[in-house]
């Protein structure tokens, strides 16, 4: 798609669609038809979707259109197409988490985020492919095949929310929901040249998100623009009585702030921006580094003061994460046993014990089993103190590093990932190498702070590079306004790959 003019007359952003729909310029059903056609044309080639039913979309569009007359004021996302990562429950829809073990599981309730988005007027455009149970950084761990990066079909879109990222990058929908445990929204957003927001832990309800790392997981929006991110964030954020870890005071009104900024020329005057030197050390690809440095120059030009800070315990992040996340996951995945729902091994002569063991061995993919083993080990008798307990202490140190840094600066910046999108198959045989590619994103989840990835240019191979902004707890407003100023000045989000569309 070469430019926006090849699309229909309205702007392909959530904000634009909602505005036009509520103004009566276009019907929700027409918006839906456009995106249905586009999805049906492109999703198989990219393998972005695990579920898509055009008729269900039409039914939803009709229902939302009917509400519009009387409820428009409470529908900030009126008619907006949203693709939902397949680890989020939508009632009556198959929810597989990209796993064989849930190949025939139909969700029996709606996740809280789905209820909120539906109430706000959204139309759900199927379920997005992802890494199995959100475990992965490339979407190569799906039981239903890898997803292709719209910027280069031989490359990964990132993971685990690879299908969501690719769908937005290919304009199959202006918004997709992803989930982020160690970077699974931000990294694919970077690889696909879009915006991905991970909120403060507890700000968005996890009820209905199939749990991976319970103390790390957050659902978040993946969008074209920062404004759209803010719009969706406002709808998602807030206390949920179904989620005991959700924050009491989590509600947000960030889009109002963005709207204010739109009248003038937004800048970053007075903003103190920190660069943690640890993110710019080994492992960072030179071409990526160059793009990120240029982005930081731009931030300077916008009036921000730049300061170097240190996060001395960051180097323990990956080790800490792979103990804590896998420990929690090993327990979270114990419920998949083929007894009440999901896949069950076919052999009827199996004893109960063997039924458990065979069902799980056959139903889970290799990476998932790997992590279950790691997590089980970390919690097992004799190893708990050295691994799980120790990792928790490291986590506290990392969170403290961020707190100290934020006493000196308002935002931190870093590359989102040490490289741009790698080739499909390139890293899939070396889990440790794969884990290390999350080195910039993981510490954020450990600290529970919010972070956003925004496009900031292209590397030497013409692939998108993501800039990560980080803020203190509950600092989303700062994050979004800072990101908006940068986006406004640089307009990277307008780029599309010429081949798609």
């Amino acid at each position: 798609m070469s430019s926006e003019t090849s699309l229909t007359p309205w702007s392909p952003t959530a904000a634009g669609i909602a505005h036009d729909v509520r103004a009566g310029n276009i019907a929700i059903t027409d918006v839906a038809e456009h995106y249905i056609k586009r999805t049906e044309t492109l999703h198989k080639g990219l393998n972005t979707h695990l579920q898509f039913d055009g008729n269900d979309v039409r039914r939803q569009a009709k229902a939302q259109q009917a509400r519009l007359k009387s409820e428009s004021a409470t529908m900030p996302l009126a008619g907006v197409p949203i693709v939902v990562k397949d680890n989020i429950c939508v009632s009556g829809v198959r929810t597989t988490c990209a796993s064989k073990i849930l190949e025939n599981y139909t969700a029996t309730y709606d996740a809280t985020v789905i209820n909120r988005l539906r109430a706000a007027g959204a139309v759900f455009f199927g379920k997005a492919n992802c890494d199995e149970f959100a475990m992965g950084s490339s979407n190569e761990n799906s039981a239903y095949g890898p997803v292709k990066n719209p910027w280069d079909l031989a490359r990964v879109p990132g993971g685990s929310s690879g299908g969501s990222a690719a769908a937005v990058a290919a304009d199959l929908a202006p918004v997709a929901l992803g989930s982020d445990t160690g970077g699974s929204i931000r990294q694919p957003a970077a690889f696909c040249g879009i915006v991905g927001l991970k909120t403060t832990y507890g700000r968005v309800s996890r009820y209905g998100l199939v749990a991976f790392g319970s103390s790390l997981d957050q659902i978040g929006p993946m969008t074209r623009t920062v404004e759209d991110s803010a719009l969706v964030f406002d709808v998602l954020a807030g206390f949920d009585p179904h989620d005991s870890t959700s924050l009491a005071n989590g509600a947000a009104e960030s889009s109002k702030l963005i709207a204010k900024m739109q009248s003038g020329k937004p800048d970053l005057k007075g903003m103190r921006v920190g660069i943690a030197k640890e993110f710019f050390e080994e492992g960072l690809d030179a071409s990526t580094a160059k793009v990120v440095e240029a982005a930081i120059d731009e931030i300077k030009k916008l009036g921000a003061s730049i300061k170097t800070v240190s996060l001395p315990h960051i180097k323990y992040s990956v080790a800490t994460y792979y103990i804590l996340a896998t420990a929690e996951a090993s327990a979270n995945l114990a419920r998949f046993d083929g007894i009440r729902y999901g896949y069950r091994a076919k052999d009827k002569s199996l004893s109960l014990k063997d039924l458990y063991r065979t069902t799980r061995a056959e139903g889970f993919g290799r990476e998932v089993k790997q992590r279950i083993m790691l997590g089980t080990f970390a919690l097992s008798s004799g190893y708990y103190d050295a691994y799980y307990a120790k990792a928790n202490r490291a986590r506290a140190m990392i969170a403290e590093d961020y707190r100290k840094a934020f006493s000196e600066v308002d935002l931190l910046v870093s590359p989102t990932a040490p490289t741009s999108a790698f080739k499909i198959g390139e890293k899939s045989n070396d889990p440790l190498a794969m884990y290390l590619s999350d080195i910039c994103t993981i510490p954020v989840n450990l600290a529970g702070i919010p972070a956003i990835s925004i496009p900031c240019g292209f590397d030497g191979a013409g692939l998108p590079v993501g800039l990560q902004l980080m803020a203190p707890l509950m600092g989303e407003e700062k994050l979004l306004t800072g990101a908006y100023a940068y986006e406004h000045a640089t307009q990277w989000h307008r780029q599309r790959h010429p081949k798609i569309g």
């Binding site: 083929g338 014990k353 691994y387 986590r395 140190m397």
Partner: protein, 96 residues
């Protein structure tokens, strides 16, 4: 930390995963590699104090009133069951 076949076998037991010989070898190697990397944590000295716990800080867990809400319709419950008999889930005979 020595990762050996006995350990990996025991972990697979605990996790209820039936692994082939080849898989056990594979996971043994991977775990050794990953846990070798994780070993760096043992060098981490912290100032948290020996009584520090990760699970006691913060506000109290939310509580809900003791009011009955409708349960899931039993047809919906059983619709997903891989094996059932009437309104109970069926499994191979539990040996006690």
């Amino acid at each position: 930390m020595k990762i050996d076949r006995a350990l990996v076998t025991r972990v697979a037991e605990l996790a209820n995963l039936k692994l082939t010989d080849g898989e056990l070898t594979h996971y043994e190697a991977q775990m050794a590699k990953i846990l070798g990397y994780v070993e760096q944590l043992s060098g981490l000295e912290d100032k948290l104090g020996k009584d520090w716990r990760s699970d006691t800080a913060g506000s109290s867990t939310p509580e809900r009133p003791d009011n009955v809400q409708p349960s899931m319709a039993v047809d919906a419950v059983m619709a997903q069951a891989p094996a059932s008999s009437g309104s109970v889930f069926q499994v191979p005979r539990i040996i006690e």
